[in-house]
Amino acid sequence: MISFRVDGRSGVPPYLQIVQQVRQALRMGVLSVGDQLPTVREVVAEVAVNPNTVLKAYRDLEREGLVEARAGQGTFVRGRPPGPPPGTHSRLGRSLARWVREARQAGLDDESIESLLRVTLRADSAAWDSDSEEIA
C-alpha cells in the first residue's frame, strides 16, 4: 500500500499530484499489478482533501488503463505506464547520484545543477527531434 502527499502550494492540482504519485510508484516498482490502492476514505482521512479529488484521480488512472475499480472491493493496479522496467530507473538514479556528487565537489550549487540539467535536456531533445526528422 502507498500513501499520498498533497502539497497545496505546488501549483499542480491535487488530483494530478495523486495521479503522478501512482504513476511514479508504478515506474519505481513500489506498486505492481494486482496491488490495491487505498480507498477514497483512507486517502482523505490521511491527506484531508475533498473526496471528489481522489475519485477524479482514480478515474483518470482508470482511463489510462493503469488501475481498475472492482465493485465492492476497491481499486486495483492493472498495468504499468509505458517506459522501461523499474530496475532501469534505480540504475539511472544511482549513476545520476554519482554525477550530482561530482558536480557538488566541483562547486556547483543546486540552482546551477538544475539549470545545467534543464539546458542539457533541451539540447538533447532538440538533437532527438532532428534525428527523428532525418529518419522520417
Binding site: V6, G8, R9, R41, V44, A45, A48, V49, N50, P51
Partner: protein, 300 residues
C-alpha cells in the same frame, strides 16, 4: 442533484444592526462548502439561520426541503457545531455518548467509539483534560453520531495547531466519503489554504452580503488576473467584468470575471487560485475604506 440549502433574499436584523441582507445562496447535496468572510460579515448568523437557531427577519430559507425549525424531525438531520466547542468539560467522552443516546432519536454510539479509538482518544477521561484537537475530534464524532444529512461547522479549526487541523479535516472528509454522497457540509474558516484542499463549493460574505456563491472549480475557471499597462479599461469592460483593480503609476493588475474568449494583447492573463479570488472580491468590497491607505484600490 437537489439543493440541500436554498435561500432567497434572506435577511436578519438585530435591533439596529443588519447581520445579513438579501442573501441568496444555493448549496447542492454532498458538497463541502466553504463559508468565508471577514469577522462580522454574517457567517455565524447565516449558519444559525440554517440550523433553525435564529429566525429570519426577511426573505426565505429552505434546508433539506423545508424551513428550519425547532422540531425533533428537522434537528435530527442537522449537525451544528458552534465556535466554542459545546462539551461538558468534567464529563468523559463516554458520558457524552450515553447522554446523546437519550437525547437523539437516531444515535450511532458505535461509530463514535470507533472513530475515537482510531484516533487514540481515551473515552474515560474528562474531556476538559484532553487537548484542543482531541476535544474538537470528540465534538465532531458526537455530531456525526446523529448521522446528519447537513453538517454546519462554525470555525471548528480556528483554535487548533496545524497538525490537529489536518487531522480534524481528515476526519471530516472521511465522514463525507463514508456517507456515499448523503452528507453535505458547510464549514466556516479564515484558513483559505485548508478550505481550498477540502471544499468544492464556496459562499463568500462581506459586510452582511453575498459576494460569491457557487462551485469553486467553475468560479476559478470564470476568472483571470490580467496584468498590463495602466490604461482606460472601458473597452475591456464591454466583454469582461472588472472585479477588482490595483493600479500603480504604470501598471494595472485586474481581477476580471471573463465574459468571452478575447483578451487585449496588452495584458498578460493568468489563472487565479482560491485565495486570489477571495481576496479580490473582499478587496473590491473594502476598497472605499482602504483607498486612503493604499491609494491604489478602486471600487468597480
Amino acid at each position: 442533484m437537489s439543493a440541500v440549502i436554498e435561500t432567497h433574499e434572506l435577511s436578519k436584523r438585530y435591533r439596529r444592526v443588519t447581520a445579513l441582507s438579501d442573501c441568496s445562496v444555493t448549496v447542492p447535496e454532498s458538497r463541502i462548502c466553504a463559508l468565508i468572510g471577514p469577522n462580522g460579515a454574517g457567517k455565524t448568523t447565516l449558519l444559525r439561520l440554517l440550523a433553525g437557531l435564529a429566525r429570519p427577519t426577511g426573505g426565505a430559507v429552505c434546508v433539506l426541503g423545508g424551513a428550519p425549525r425547532q422540531d425533533p424531525a428537522f434537528l435530527a438531520e442537522i449537525g451544528y457545531l458552534a465556535q466554542e466547542i459545546p462539551l461538558y468539560r468534567r464529563l468523559t467522552a463516554e458520558d457524552h455518548i450515553r447522554a446523546g443516546a437519550h437525547l437523539n432519536p437516531r444515535w450511532d454510539a458505535v461509530s463514535v467509539r470507533t472513530r475515537l479509538a482510531d484516533l487514540n482518544i481515551p473515552l474515560d477521561r474528562a474531556v476538559g483534560t484532553l487537548s484542543g484537537g482531541q476535544r474538537a475530534q470528540v465534538a465532531l464524532a458526537l455530531t456525526l453520531a446523529k448521522r446528519p444529512r447537513l453538517l454546519l461547522l462554525d470555525e471548528p479549526v480556528a483554535a487548533l495547531d496545524p497538525l490537529a487541523r489536518r487531522h480534524f479535516l481528515g476526519s471530516l472528509t472521511a465522514a463525507v466519503a463514508e456517507s456515499g454522497g448523503e452528507l453535505t457540509v458547510v464549514l466556516s474558516s479564515h484558513l483559505i489554504a485548508d478550505l481550498e484542499r477540502v471544499c468544492d463549493h464556496i459562499i463568500l460574505l462581506t459586510e452582511s452580503r453575498v459576494q460569491l456563491c457557487g462551485d469553486i472549480e467553475t468560479l476559478l475557471s470564470e476568472h483571470k488576473v490580467l496584468v498590463g499597462p495602466r490604461k482606460d479599461t472601458s473597452a475591456l469592460e464591454r466583454t469582461h467584468t472588472v472585479v477588482h483593480a490595483v493600479r500603480t503609476a504604470r501598471q494595472s493588475t485586474l481581477l476580471v470575471r471573463v465574459g468571452g474568449p478575447v483578451f487585449d494583447p496588452a495584458y498578460e492573463a493568468s489563472d487565479v487560485d482560491l485565495e486570489e479570488l477571495v481576496l479580490g472580491y473582499m478587496g473590491a468590497s473594502a476598497a472605499p475604506a482602504l483607498a486612503h491607505l493604499t491609494a491604489v484600490g478602486e471600487e468597480q
